[in-house]
């Protein structure tokens, strides 16, 4: 008998021997305990998520400069947003960053995880796992400052060694062409360890009997990878894609510290523009409308991913 069925049977048994009044008070006590246990989560959800989200939605309908009383202007902020060339540029930058960073983080994370998982020595596996994960626990601002030093065009360590190899100095952060790529690379360096860990957990959940059976059937390494490993990693892949995409759409610190959106607007993202509108120009309503739009973009992409996930994610 499974656990829920056993529970149900126990409740029925108790109902048979207990008077109705006692059942009601027991149910009430159990419900109260349930609410008590979820209260901290519910409270933090309300305070840190639901109320700010609703406030943001409301604020996007107002013209508010932070100092004076807000004026209700309906959808005017959204209309202005649709004609704002700078916003469209930042949206394009954000989308491109999201695609490249997600592909880099998830793709490389899976590749590294499969590599680490195939290592026989446990100590080496643990060392590599830790090494890849360490950048993830370092503050993004610290990572950005560190790479800022390493990638300096004239005196950076990276260009110094490239010059030793006869390669011309690369304007890693000071040219429009390179700055964006550099920031994607830095993002992948920082986050790939997290995704590696997710994939490693997924790999360890694959039963070894499947590989043993495949070996008996004469399956080679490539067949085992494409027919067993990757299909059974799709739940991890699905989760990673959603997390990576949401994170990438919210990118801010690395670009703010390393390039401040420049040169020009080459590395300016929606969140950076939102921050400038809110805290530089004090256009709180306009900034809120950007946040709302970004929220719906992320929501749409996530829902689409979930819907499409049914077609390619393989749950054992």
């Amino acid at each position: 008998m499974r656990a829920p069925q056993m529970q149900e049977a126990a409740i029925r048994a108790r109902a048979a021997i207990l008077p109705r009044q006692r059942i009601n008070s027991l149910a009430l006590r159990e419900a109260a305990a349930g609410y008590f246990f979820i209260a901290p989560t519910l409270l933090s959800f309300l305070v840190f998520f639901l109320i700010p989200t609703i406030s943001g939605l409301g604020m996007s309908l107002f013209d508010w400069d932070f100092f004076s009383d807000p004026d209700f202007i309906g959808l005017e902020n959204f209309i202005e947003l649709s004609q704002d060339k700078l916003f469209l540029t930042t949206l394009k930058n954000t989308a491109l960053f999201a695609v490249l960073a997600t592909a880099g983080n998830v793709g490389l994370g899976m590749f590294i995880a499969i590599g680490i998982n195939s290592i026989q020595w446990g100590w080496l596996k643990a060392c590599l796992r830790t090494a890849y994960f360490i950048p993830f626990v370092i503050s993004t601002v610290v990572v950005a400052l560190m790479f800022g030093f390493l990638l300096q065009e004239s005196t950076g360590v990276v260009n110094y060694y490239l010059a030793r190899l006869g390669i011309d100095r690369i304007p890693w952060l000071s040219s429009s062409r390179w700055a964006f790529r550099s920031i994607v690379l830095i993002d992948v360096w920082k986050h790939v360890g997290f995704f590696t860990l997710i994939f490693l957990a997924g790999l360890q959940a694959i039963p070894s009997e499947l590989y043993e059976a495949a070996l008996v059937d004469g399956a080679g390494r490539r067949v085992r990878l494409t027919r067993i490993t990757i299909p059974l990693l799709t739940p991890s892949l699905f989760f990673s894609l959603i997390i990576a995409l949401i994170g990438a759409f919210q990118v801010f610190e690395s670009m703010y510290v390393l390039t401040n959106g420049g040169p020009g607007d080459a590395t300016r993202t929606v969140v950076m523009l939102l921050y400038r509108e809110a805290f530089g120009s004090f256009n709180m309503g306009y900034a809120a409308s950007m946040a709302v739009l970004l929220f719906f973009i992320i929501l749409t992409l996530t829902v689409t991913q979930v819907r499409l996930g049914d077609r390619w994610v393989f749950y054992r």
Partner: protein, 429 residues
């Protein structure tokens, strides 16, 4: 009889006074909220209040640190702090924030205090009038100046000496400057990468402003209602500044730790303010190791100028104790407190707003020989951009000039775009 009566009355009055003094309740305890930039730790700011707390034992100061990234951001954080319910009475802020804070009703005008308090005359006579004027908005005083900064060219004496160059003359020209920078720039190990650079500057407002001033122009006109980027003098100055990197190769492109390079002797000249002393002292550089000189002009003629900014103290409109807050502001701009700027060891090493302190022996000992050139540059300088829409203007400048500095856009193209975009922002405001 009359004298006995008189004596009795005197004793009675005396007793009455003594009794009333004895039963007068202690003054109410008051907490004043003080906002400061958290770039310096609280204990350094606390040093400014020595004397004030002794004179006002009923006052407790609530130190409210606010991270200072940019003045717009700092100002917004102050407002957020106040909206969050924190009682703020006295604010330390800069000239850039005055129009915004005044327009939005955050600051209280100080003219009524200045007019009714005879003690302030001594301060008004001593403070540099330009600084006082700079902290006014629409004919009202909002902050009292405390410290100020302007930028000059710092040169490392030993680097110049090694390059066989004498100390630069104050009336030097662009050609002289280029010759200095070219001579200093060297690839000492022959690996194709310069090991010593002649000069460094970025596309930042505070780096480019002096080039414009020294060529008779600026970013905008006097009241910041019209951009001046498209003026021929502006384009000429910006072109010269840009060419130092991309045409003459005497300055590094991209980000560069110029102060560290200056201290290490791998940079001959850089742009910095009086506050620059504070960063050089801990690095082991003494005032004899470097000096300052005016920005060169195209022909060597004209009064040497630069752009300047100042900070100061003001009182919030929401202050519950404006009179005590005013006492605090007066204390903060007193000679005793301002003297703490001189050694460069307290919260700031900027130049003191009081002119009487300019020749103080402590300042002279901690400063390079030609420190007084900062004061001359102030006389002929322009204020940093201080308009309510400062953040928008600064962003427009950065957007286009960063592309010029990346060699991806011509100076003329950038100047035309900046001119158009700034005109649009000004028209909107």
């Amino acid at each position: 009889m009359k004298s006995i009566l008189n004596r009795s009355i005197q004793i009675f009055v005396l007793l009455l006074l003594c009794t009333s003094a004895a039963v007068t309740p202690a003054q109410d305890e008051v907490t004043l909220g003080f906002v400061y930039g958290s770039f310096a730790p609280q204990e350094k700011w606390e040093a400014y209040f020595e004397g004030f707390l002794e004179a006002h034992p009923n006052v407790t100061i609530n130190y409210i640190p606010v991270p200072l990234d940019s003045w717009g951001d700092y100002t917004q954080k102050i407002v957020t702090t106040m909206l969050g319910g924190e009682q703020v009475d006295v604010i330390w802020n800069a000239i850039e924030a005055v129009p915004l804070m005044a327009e939005r009703g955050v600051l209280r005008e100080l003219d009524s205090f200045l007019d009714s308090d005879a003690d302030t005359q001594e301060f008004l006579d001593d403070v540099h009038p330009k600084l006082l004027e700079g902290l006014r908005w629409k004919d009202q005083q909002y902050l009292l100046p405390f410290a100020w900064n302007t930028t000059l060219i710092y040169y490392n004496k030993s680097v110049l000496e090694a390059a066989g160059l004498p100390e630069p003359p104050p009336d030097w020209t662009w050609d002289d400057f280029l010759e200095y920078a070219t001579t200093i720039t060297q690839d000492t190990d022959g690996d194709g990468i310069n090991d010593i650079w002649g000069f460094h500057h970025n596309a930042w407002l505070w780096h480019l402003g002096p080039w414009l001033v020294s060529n008779g122009s600026f970013f905008l006109n006097e009241d910041f209602s019209k951009p001046w980027y498209a003026r021929p003098e502006s384009i000429e100055a910006l072109q010269f500044a840009r060419d130092l990197i991309w045409e003459h190769g005497v300055g590094p492109s991209g980000s560069f730790n110029f102060r560290e390079a200056f201290v290490a002797g791998s940079l001959g000249m850089m742009i910095d303010s009086p506050a620059g002393r504070q960063r050089l002292i801990p690095a082991g550089m003494s005032a004899d190791d470097y000096d300052v000189v005016f920005f060169p002009t195209k022909s060597g003629e004209g009064a040497p100028g630069s752009q300047w900014g100042t900070d100061g103290y003001g009182i919030t409109k929401d202050s519950q104790h404006p009179d005590l807050a005013w006492e605090m502001v007066k204390h903060l701009v007193s000679v005793d407190v301002m003297s703490k700027l001189l050694s460069g060891e307290f919260a700031s090493a900027s130049a003191p707003a009081r002119q009487s302190l300019a020749a103080d022996p402590v300042l002279v000992a901690a400063s390079p020989a030609n420190y007084m050139r900062f004061y001359e540059a102030l006389e002929n300088g322009r204020t940093v951009i201080n308009a309510p829409y400062f953040a928008e203007l600064a962003e427009i400048h950065d957007r286009y000039m960063s592309q010029v500095w990346a060699n991806e856009m011509s100076v003329e193209e950038a100047a035309t775009s900046i001119q158009a975009d700034m005109e649009a922002v000004i028209a909107d405001n």
